[in-house]
Amino acid sequence: MKKRALSIMIALAFVLVSFVGVHAASTVKIGFTYIMSGPFSAYGQFARQGAEMAIEEINAAGGINGQQVEGFFEDSTGKADVALRAIRKHVYQNKVDILIGLDSSGVAKTVVPSIEQMKTPLIITHAATPDVTGSVCNKYTFRISLNLAQNVKAASLLANETGAKKWTTVGPDYSFGHQSWEYFEKYLKQLNPQATFLPKDQVVFSPFKTTDFSSYITKVMNSKPDGVFISLWGGNLIDFVRQASSMGFFKQKYEVLFSLGAATEVLTALGDKMPEGLWVGTRYWFLANNSALNKKFVAAYFKKYGAYPSYNAHGAYSAVYAYKAAAEKAGSTDKMAIVNALEGLTIEIPTGVITFRKGDHQAVTDAHWGKTAADPNYPLRILKPIKIFKGKNVTPAISETGCSLGAAM
């Protein structure tokens, strides 16, 4: 029996050892961590498409500093412990030079402290929580995508223009929804001291798994606000919009702002069921920027995948290029050199010119909002007019973020 046990052990050890990936050392390795499985895997697929397109383009053009780029994709499943395992696999097994990714805000917030221990730079491309470039920021963590504070600041500027006084919200009942409302309240109050906000027990935070929003819709309509700020996204947003339409929600006299309403996957699913004339925001809108770079990106993406790029595709695509720019600036792919090169880096990406601030590593990037409108040339609602809020006008001062990177340096 001892023998048999031993042989089983040896066989097991052999299986384990065979997993040690041996890779040629001559490539630049990028580790992507997104939600690749489960109900939100669509977001991971978009990101993967964007990332793969960027890698192909870069490799076709000679790579980074003459080295070819290799992408590794791991599944975060949207859970913090699994995401951390995926990141550890990137760092210790795939031996990547940089980490890119993270969809969920909660995951980002709890994973970021461990990034510091792994001494590997991370560019966040989707997760919007202000905390990862705020209260829990660190030297290795950057974010290229629009964060919650920037998006909501733009929303509050817009809300101020509408002149509506009494505001309420509908948001998902987790940190993202609560924080969105808190920031909205804070920013709009600064702009318009007369604005009032319904107290916590009268606004709506619907549990993430809600599929029937009718009682929430009734509750909001019953509170008779002048303006409604909505931070629902994804499937929640689709369900809400459809059910709200049929309950006459959009016929009322109040203003409606959707902070993530201009997401292409939502607008595509809703098609002509998305009412026209609603204010919607997003992290990237494929028609917002007329630059040559953006047109090239949208055309190439459409040609390759037959769809318009979503913000997640844009984030992953841009992060690869940001890494390329940093590596070329540093003249190396040494992790610390990359961190230093990313700090303060200014680069043009499809959405516009961005700068990674030294003080908190958040990209100063434009926020895009617009009114939904029908257009026969597009199968989904597009934005018309589009409102562009300049990055410097919507990005909070570093002193407000709670990040102490600047102070330490």
Partner: protein, 286 residues
């Protein structure tokens, strides 16, 4: 007052959907003795199949008719080849087997239809809007409120006035006795599971015009229907009805008054019933 009325309607429309799911779950439990974790996935499957049929024929009614029937085929296969083997096993094996089926169905649907969001339109007949209490209200929701008791009533009559219904009831009370008097119990089991599957899938097809289709759409409803089945009394038909109404109304009124507590309400209710009346509010039986 208007506000109260609207909330009752909101609660009822969700509650009736919940009832369709829970009544299938509770009947299956009552006869087969298995609490089916994959019941919510059959709900989800019904919605997707309805959507698929609609893409071929462009008719919601055909989708409602054929979609659940396709799901029944899968249900029968599941019962005949998988569930059958665990009837005499420990409850942990039964739950784990149905959990495995849940995983296969949820991920399988994602592999077939993708993880993107799908949307189904209500039929033209019911797409309209009525004015209730000075507010727009979708006709489709009212249809849901009506269809629940209608199907419930048909089922009730089936169980009480037809031969097959009586046989099923007999089998649920004592399957050994039923076998003794010459009833083909394995066949009954298959039929009951097919019926449960059909009810779940029908619920899914009915829910499709209301909520976006995603592979995980069964997750919320399965836990809620577990709660309904337990508080109503495992295997109890009226229990499922009362439990579903209770949960539906608690849900809609909870959004008004419960605040932060809302998420915990169904679980508090579940624990309270189990502690005070462990066998649920109603006796087993249909």
């Amino acid at each position: 007052m208007d506000f109260l009325l609207l909330n009752i309607l909101n609660g009822l429309s969700w509650g009736m959907l919940l009832f369709l799911i829970a009544v299938g779950l509770t009947t299956v439990f009552g006869v087969l003795g298995v609490l089916n974790f994959a019941h919510g996935s059959l709900f989800m499957l019904g919605a997707y199949l309805c959507m698929q049929v609609m893409q071929y024929f462009d008719s919601f009614w055909l989708g409602l008719l054929l979609g659940p029937l396709c799901a029944v085929i899968i249900g029968v296969l599941v019962e005949k080849y998988l569930l059958k083997r665990v009837y005499n096993r420990d409850v942990s094996f039964q739950l784990l087997l149905t959990f495995a089926i849940l995983l296969i169905l949820d991920d399988g649907v994602r592999m077939i239809w993708g993880s993107g969001y799908h949307v189904v339109d209500p039929p033209e007949l019911l797409a309209g809007i009525m004015t209730i209490a000075g507010q727009d209200y979708p006709v489709y929701r009212l249809f849901l409120i009506v269809i629940g008791p209608v199907i419930g009533g048909i089922l009730w009559s089936f169980f009480h006035f037809t031969k097959w219904g009586k046989i099923i009831r007999a089998a649920s009370f004592d399957n050994i006795m039923a076998e003794g008097v010459g009833i083909n119990v394995p066949l009954i089991y298959t039929l009951v599971f097919a019926l449960g599957t059909w009810l779940a899938a029908l619920g899914g097809a009915l829910a499709a015009p209301q909520q976006s289709l995603v592979p995980s759409m069964g997750e919320k409803i399965i836990i809620e229907s577990f709660i309904v089945v337990v508080i109503g009394g495992m295997g109890s038909f009226p229990g499922a009805f009362v439990g579903a109404l209770l949960l539906g109304l608690l849900g809609s009124f909870g959004t008004m008054f419960a605040g932060q507590l809302q998420m915990a309400i169904p679980y508090l209710l579940l624990a309270a019933v189990l502690l005070i009346k462990p066998n649920g509010l109603f006796k087993k039986g249909v």
